[in-house]
């Protein structure tokens, strides 16, 4: 009976992900190209915002993945703490820089859109502020990984930091809401909301989101492989020095 825990074996993980990665790359590129080209060139301009609205095909998916990347790190950290599979810890490590870049993309595309629309690059709006705080959490998490030499110690400490950080990130999100009222619009892409964006914008956005999701998955897989190989290499070098 095959179970997901089989992939806790690094060799099994590398073999299987090697098989999936080329296919995932193709899917990613197809989705991203379709979503972005469709969104950029084949949707009408918004009647008030003009063509600036098109930056949202980058902004929304990256913001979505910035949060989901942290969530994935949380799950991977929990698996590491409970079952102590090294691949899991390395996957959390591999996901952090990807998530951080997604956060940065969301912040920057938001600023580029906000300048003509709100008349400012930056406002201390709850959503903007909590993304900045999320960015700081990523920064701290990555810095802690880099600072500690022993691999297992680093994995343990960062896993606990990820857990505690998640609680505080959610807390900050609501605290910031309390602290300032926002300029940022509410959710308009929810599945259950009465009023959403029109279908003509929604479908390319959906494809772009799928593309960003696949991009995240494939990048994390590749980076996890790299981490595994780097660790093997260090182990081999250490063994050679012993002899």
């Amino acid at each position: 009976m095959a179970s997901i825990w089989e992939y806790a074996n690094p060799k099994k993980f590398i073999d299987t992900s090697n098989k999936v990665i080329p296919m995932l790359w193709v899917l990613t590129i197809v989705c991203l190209a379709t979503g972005l080209i469709w969104g950029f060139f084949f949707t009408p301009d918004d009647y008030r915002q003009g063509s600036t609205v098109k930056i949202f095909y980058l902004h929304v998916p990256s913001a979505l993945m910035a949060i989901n990347a942290w969530f994935m790190m949380l799950v991977a950290s929990l698996i590491w703490i409970v079952r102590r599979h090294h691949v899991s810890a390395l996957a959390a490590r591999a996901a952090a820089p990807v998530g951080m870049v997604m956060t940065l993309i969301a912040l920057f595309t938001g600023a580029i859109w906000g300048q003509p629309m709100w008349g400012t690059w930056w406002a201390w709006d709850p959503r903007l502020t909590s993304f900045l705080i999320l960015f700081l959490f990523y920064l701290g998490y990555i810095a802690l990984w880099e600072a500690i030499e022993n691999d297992d110690t680093a994995a343990d400490l960062t896993a606990v930091l990820c857990l505690v950080g998640s609680v505080f990130a959610v807390l900050s999100r609501y605290a910031v809401n309390f602290w300032n009222q926002g300029l940022h619009q509410g959710a308009s892409l929810s599945l259950d909301a009465e009023e959403n964006v029109a279908d003509i914008f929604w479908y390319p956005a959906l494809v772009a989101m799928a593309g960003f999701f696949l991009l995240f998955v494939v990048l994390v897989l590749v980076r996890t492989q790299t981490e595994i190989r780097a660790r093997r290499m260090r182990a081999l070098l250490a063994r050679e020095r012993m002899q």
Binding site: L136, A147, F168
Partner: protein, 218 residues
């Protein structure tokens, strides 16, 4: 536990433990702010609650590495770990000692420094109360940061990077209480949120700090 508390207290008060340093730092921050923003009393009155909270937070942050670093270096932390006291108790006592030597003086001094910044009349009570409620959370969160970075040689800067984002909710609600108090507005909501954060953090975070410290002592 009481013995450990007394020991920590004695160590930080005597022998250059830096008991007054946090307070001195707080005073310097409060002194420097008018040089930076100008001496107009209305402006100072408006930003006083935020500056006082920020100053207290930074003073707290600066003294964090003393919570565990010295005990780590001379090995007494290893001895404490083998003592019958659970690790959660050790970190709680450490946080308490840190609060008594750093947080409490800040709370007591804040009204005096409020005068320097022309804090409005009604703000004194709420500023003091919010600091009294919030600084224990700062100490406990800081102990978690100190436990994370205790094994590192130059962990001070990294600890600031890790701890400061965790301070965000406490700072928001604490400064909000002080600001609303200074303006004579209703303070109940942020006050209750602040108290809630403090209590939750005191109850739960020692488990995380202890887990992290065990890893570092392994």
């Amino acid at each position: 536990m009481i013995a450990l508390f007394k020991r920590d207290l004695a160590l930080s008060i005597r022998a250059g433990g830096g008991f007054g340093l946090g307070l001195a730092f707080f005073l310097i921050v409060v002194t420097l702010v008018p040089f930076g923003v100008g001496p107009q009393s209305e402006l100072l009155a408006r930003i006083a609650p935020g500056i006082l909270w920020l100053g207290a937070l930074l003073a707290c942050l600066l003294s964090l590495d003393r919570i565990l670093a010295l005990d780590w270096e001379d090995g007494s932390l290893d001895l404490l770990a083998t003592a019958p006291l659970p690790m959660e108790g050790i970190v709680s006592v450490k946080a308490l000692a840190h609060w008594v030597t750093t947080g409490l003086p800040l709370v007591l001094a804040a009204p005096v420094f409020g005068v320097l910044l022309n804090l409005p009349e009604g703000g004194f009570l709420w500023l003091t109360l919010s600091l009294a409620l919030g600084t224990p959370a700062l100490s406990v969160i800081g102990t978690f940061g100190a436990a994370l970075t205790v094994g590192l040689k130059r962990g001070g800067l990294l600890m600031s990077l890790l701890v400061l984002p965790l301070y965000v909710p406490t700072l928001i609600f604490g400064a909000e209480v002080a600001r609303r108090g200074a303006l004579g507005m209703a303070v109940e909501t942020p006050l209750m949120m602040l108290a809630g954060i403090s209590l939750a953090v005191i109850a739960l975070l020692p488990f995380a700090s202890a887990a992290v410290l065990r890893v570092n002592l392994r």
